[in-house]
């Protein structure tokens, strides 16, 4: 090649660096979906059509909302960054399979529209969009959501005789455990006996509660790929376990039941709504675990994951400020 040819070709002139890593935003989102896949597919197999329908409705709603928003606002189309798909999948996994279809669609719409786009799109939202969508429908249609059953039903438990079970429509193991605790252990609900179903095949509850083991597997994939920082799930799960134990319950049961694992590995680790400084991440994870445990044992809802993480999302920027790292060459942090 002669220099003249280069002049014609107008070489690109850019500032350094001239090379970049192959990691892209859509690549990261794809890995999140891949990590969720084992638990999601197993949920579809175990719960059948309602689960499949749930994924289609939730993801369809988030994707269409984002696409339409960009089109109407005449913004660059952002569907390919993969974040709307992740929001849809996470939302689906946080819902019981028998949730009325219009609630799912509404949750997807709210997640994207009010959870993300109104702030300016991906990167500008303060809260995790999937949790915003879920919180919205939890609050708006509390009665419907509380009675939306899982696919299993707690028929294996012979506690109806004691009068407690009837009161818990569509009861999850978590709800039964709470009722048992409230009744001073009158039902004799054996938490350790729940490990196996919770780990492998649990049809009471939302799609994301089918297999704790597969969620852990997915979490390991994200950790191994360097996509999430161990500090968030470790702080979260550690605090949850420790407090459950301190509150006199079974830590393992409390970690693998309900939304803790989905929350700790996939929801609280959402980049945009979590802190970035390392120590801030640890504090944030611990904060999520503490709030989740307190909400579960002393709140009105046994499932406090959503609000625990949303609250911590809100103070993530503050944590980043408090735990701002010291700059190389500075003795003390400079403000």
């Amino acid at each position: 090649m002669s220099p003249e040819m280069t002049a014609e070709r107008k070489p690109v002139v850019t500032g350094s660096p001239q090379i970049s890593s192959t990691t892209t935003c859509s690549g990261i989102m794809l890995w999140v979906v891949i990590a969720l896949a084992p638990a999601a597919v197993w949920a579809c197999i175990s719960m059948g059509l309602p689960a499949i329908r749930m994924f289609a409705l939730a993801a369809g709603s988030t994707l269409i909302t984002e696409g339409a928003w960009n089109a109407i606002a005449k913004k660059r189309q952002t569907l390919t960054d993969g974040s709307a798909l992740v929001t849809g999948v996470l939302l689906a996994m946080s819902m019981p399979p028998m949730t009325p279809w219009w609630i799912t669609v509404a949750a997807g719409f709210i997640a994207i529209a009010l959870g993300k786009m109104i702030f300016g799109g991906l990167g500008f939202n303060l809260f995790n969009p999937a949790l915003v969508g879920r919180a919205f429908v939890l609050v708006s249609w509390a009665g419907v959501m509380a009675s939306a059953p899982g696919r299993g039903w707690f028929k294996t438990l012979d506690i109806a005789a004691t009068g407690g079970y009837d009161a818990i429509t569509g009861a999850t193991r978590l709800a039964v455990a709470a009722a048992d605790r409230a009744a001073g252990g009158a039902y004799g609900f054996d938490l350790a006996a729940q490990y196996q179903p919770l780990l492998w095949r649990n049809l009471e509850g939302s799609l994301g509660e089918v297999s704790a083991a597969l969620l852990i597997l997915g979490g390991m994939v994200l950790l191994f790929k360097g996509i999430i920082d161990w500090r968030i799930p470790a702080g979260y799960i550690g605090a949850m376990g420790l407090l459950s134990w301190a509150f006199g319950s079974d830590p393992i049961f409390n970690i693998i039941a309900g939304g803790v694992l989905l929350g700790a590995f996939f929801m609280a680790t959402d980049y945009v709504s979590s802190p970035m400084a390392k120590n801030a991440r640890l504090a944030y994870g611990i904060g999520c675990g503490v709030l989740n445990a307190v909400g579960r044992f002393y709140g009105s809802m046994p499932e406090a994951t959503t609000f625990a993480i949303l609250f911590m999302n809100g103070i993530a920027p503050l944590l980043d400020r408090v735990f701002r790292p010291r700059v190389f060459g500075w003795v003390k942090r400079n403000g």
Binding site: G120, G123, M276, F328, G329
Partner: protein, 432 residues
């Protein structure tokens, strides 16, 4: 933290295999040489020759009477054909002396520099930092009296991807490098000499160890970019951070590039001025290699000597791809700081993305930053032209290593944004 491991940094693909095994070979004298009067940081030289004048190899053609400067010499016997502005690799225009070399050349001989003492010889030889910083070496050899320097650190890390010129220099002429290190230590009264090489260059480490006397340490450091950055290197050896706003000498250490050390040895031992250097020409070229190139050789001629480019060209870089500028034109000369010419294909070059690709707050840039900065924050404020906001995040501590831009998944041009914030902080006096 253990010595030898600075915090942060990245592992870019090293791409050195194409030229790591290529012995240095002379590039033949080209048909013309263009010598910018400023190939260093500091005061530019003024030409002291005239058009039509015949000059000899080693003759001074540009000089200036300023402390922070370095004279320019003719690399050949030849005739001055023009004195006019030329474009440099960095994209600026500076006065340059064009020389048409004589048909007969004896590159083995040269006009010796005249100097009374070793430090003057280094200055007269026009030696500057050859790792790319191009800071006049004599200035670095004159640290303030109140900051005694005990340790001379030679930087042979060559942590930039693609480049192998320092590797070949250490492998082929280890004694010149060691000699230079000892000369530096003598000049500044340092007692300890450490030559640092990344552990991906085992053969160079062995060559240096074989040639080094007991008083010279040869340290293998982990291969991680930017291991060769001055502050990170000092941390690796002394576990001391260069305090903000202070010279590296404040830690009692002085860092010189290995090629600079060799040039210092040449200047003091043989009176040889700096008239050529090793340049790694690599990437999408037909004959990648390490060429000994006369300063002033046009990059177009150098690429042609390397067989020309192959396939589609995305970007041509002067220096390494992490810190080097992309060239707007190939009609720019090889200068004292030109360590390499890297031809990237469009696929290898970092993508150019639309400006509105937002930060997704993944934290990768902070994690990679060897200065423990929050590049995303400086970048975000800088993009909004909020200089006070950017100033709160210490843009002036940025060493422009490029790690942050490299790792960013949304490919934000962080280094550019930070450079702008730096300039704003300096001109507007924003306090960090």
């Amino acid at each position: 933290m253990a010595k030898g491991a600075f915090k942060g940094g990245i592992h870019p693909p090293d791409r050195k295999a194409a030229t790591a095994g290529s012995p240095v070979e002379w590039m033949p004298v080209p048909s013309r040489l263009v010598l910018p009067m400023s190939q260093h940081l500091g005061a530019p030289c003024a030409p002291i020759v005239e058009v039509g004048q015949h000059v000899s190899r080693g003759e001074v053609i540009g000089s200036v009477d300023a402390f922070v400067s370095a004279p320019v010499h003719s690399p050949v016997d030849g005739e001055v054909t023009a004195i006019a502005p030329c474009l440099t690799a960095a994209g600026s225009r500076v006065t340059a002396v064009t020389i048409k070399p004589d048909a007969e050349q004896d590159l083995g001989s040269f006009l010796r520099v005249e100097a009374d003492d070793p430090k003057s010889a280094v200055r007269a030889a026009g030696v500057v930092g050859m790792g790319g910083a191009t800071f006049p070496t004599t200035v670095k050899l004159s640290p303030p009296a109140d900051t005694p320097v005990n340790t001379v650190i030679l930087n042979g890390c060559e942590c930039e991807p693609f480049l192998t010129c320092d590797h070949r220099l250490m492998l082929e002429t280890p004694s010149r490098v060691i000699d230079g290190a000892q000369k530096i230590a003598e000049l500044i009264g340092a007692s300890r000499i450490v030559i640092c090489v990344e552990d991906n260059k085992q053969d160079a480490i062995e060559a240096l160890r074989a040639a080094a006397p007991g008083t010279v340490e040869v340290r293998a450091l982990p291969t991680r970019y930017p291991q060769g950055a001055e502050k990170q290197l000092i941390w690796a050896i002394l576990a001391k951070e260069v305090p903000h706003g202070k010279l590296p000498a404040a830690t009692g250490a002085l860092v010189h590039n290995v090629a600079t050390a060799a040039a210092i040895a040449d200047a003091i031992d043989t009176g040889k001025p700096l008239t050529e250097r090793i340049v790694t020409v690599t990437g999408a070229v037909k004959r990648p290699g390490n060429y000994r190139v006369l300063l002033g050789t046009l990059i177009s001629d150098l690429i042609e000597h390397a067989g020309g480019t192959v396939g589609e060209v995305g970007r041509i870089i002067a220096g390494g791809p992490m810190t080097g500028p992309a060239l707007a034109s190939l009609d720019v000369p090889v200068a004292k700081g030109t360590s390499g010419i890297v031809v990237l294909t469009p696929q290898e070059a970092s993508p150019l993305v639309e400006d509105d690709q937002a930060c997704i707050r993944c934290g990768r840039c902070s994690e990679a930053c060897p200065m423990f900065l929050q590049p995303y924050a400086i970048g975000n404020y800088s993009a909004r032209q909020d200089w006070n906001g950017a100033g709160r995040f210490n843009p002036l501590d940025c060493i422009e290593c490029g790690c942050c831009s490299f790792v960013c998944p949304t490919k934000r041009p962080l280094v550019q944004l930070i450079r702008i914030a730096k300039a704003a902080a300096l001109t507007k006096g924003v306090k960090p």
